[in-house]
């Protein structure tokens, strides 16, 4: 497992999973790929299928309808795979927690490795969050 995680931290391929977002975090994720931030220079790339993913970026507060689908998509990811909650909605459901169409927060459904707060988080914050995740995983390996 440790070798796998070490390899995983080298160039993370991310899958973007939108669970009832307002689309803002999603647009900022795409922004990361465009010339100003260009995270492909760190080897981070957006992939089209969860089966290729090293990390899943979950945005949005996951409503009743998206709930089952999100669980199914996450279960299809090859292990080990990091789950990153991106934006306040994914971290804590934010202002939608009281809604009738919300049931569970993301971390009640699956293990979340990193939380990136903000509404939406700035692209710099996302990069920092991913770096913090990598550093934490490497530090845990050294122990």
């Amino acid at each position: 497992m440790s070798l796998k995680i070490k390899a995983l931290t080298k160039s993370i391929w991310v899958f973007h999973l939108a669970a009832s977002p307002c689309n803002n975090c999603d647009i900022e994720i795409l922004d990361l790929l465009t010339p100003r931030w260009d995270i492909e220079r760190f080897g981070i790339q957006l992939v089209g299928s969860v089966r290729h993913a090293d990390a899943i970026l979950v945005t949005g507060s996951m409503n009743r309808k998206a709930h089952e689908r999100v669980k199914r998509v996450i279960s299809q990811a090859p292990q080990p795979c990091f789950v990153i909650a991106l934006g306040n909605c994914a971290c804590s459901m934010e202002m939608f927690g009281a809604s009738y169409n919300q049931m569970h927060c993301l971390d009640e459904v699956t293990k979340v490795h990193a939380y990136i707060a903000g509404c939406p988080p700035k692209p710099e914050a996302m990069i920092q969050g991913i770096i913090a995740l990598i550093e934490a995983q490497l530090a845990a390996l050294k122990k």
Binding site: K65, H67, Y100, N101, M103
Partner: protein, 156 residues
């Protein structure tokens, strides 16, 4: 400001027009008797070339109120058709066959408010899950969430 649109409605539908309220120069609220609503809506849409903008439903103290908002863009004004339905068993004829743009919003009003649209061509859940408990309409005033002991339980 009684103008030709309002006069036309009055002369054509007579008794069906219960009340006309000029909120502002460009917004007119016309209360219509529920059985004639599809006729009035069709007249606005087909004969006057109005654009159906959106409908909004509300659960008020005196019953369910639906507003069908029509925009007459060339005349720079809005005509809002208001119908008031009974609280106990709200039911109205659907406009969806005559004004196709109303199809989705009627589906939404049915699932969130529990207003029955008679003769709607395709009445399925629009926003909520297909296994949403029946007779459970979240936008009603007396509706209870599962946290308050309602039936749309969270056990999944």
């Amino acid at each position: 400001m009684a103008d030709e649109v309002v006069e036309g409605l009055k002369s054509k539908f007579g008794d069906a027009i219960i009340d006309i309220h000029e909120k502002s120069p460009d917004k007119t609220y016309v209360t219509v008797a529920p059985p004639r609503l599809p006729d009035v809506a069709e007249y606005l849409y087909k004969d006057l070339g109005a654009r159906f903008s959106i409908a909004s439903g509300m659960h008020m103290a005196h019953g369910f109120e639906i507003l069908y908002h029509f925009a007459l863009d060339a005349k720079h004004r809005f005509i809002n058709l208001r119908v008031i339905l009974d609280s106990e068993k709200p039911s109205i004829d659907s406009c969806a066959k005559r004004v196709p743009a109303t199809e989705w919003i009627e589906r939404e009003m049915w699932e969130l408010l529990g207003i029955e649209f008679r003769g709607h061509p395709d009445m399925r859940h629009l926003l909520l899950t297909d296994d949403w408990p029946e007779g459970n309409y979240p936008l009603r005033q007396d509706w209870k969430d599962w946290r308050e002991g309602g039936e749309n339980g969270s056990e999944k």
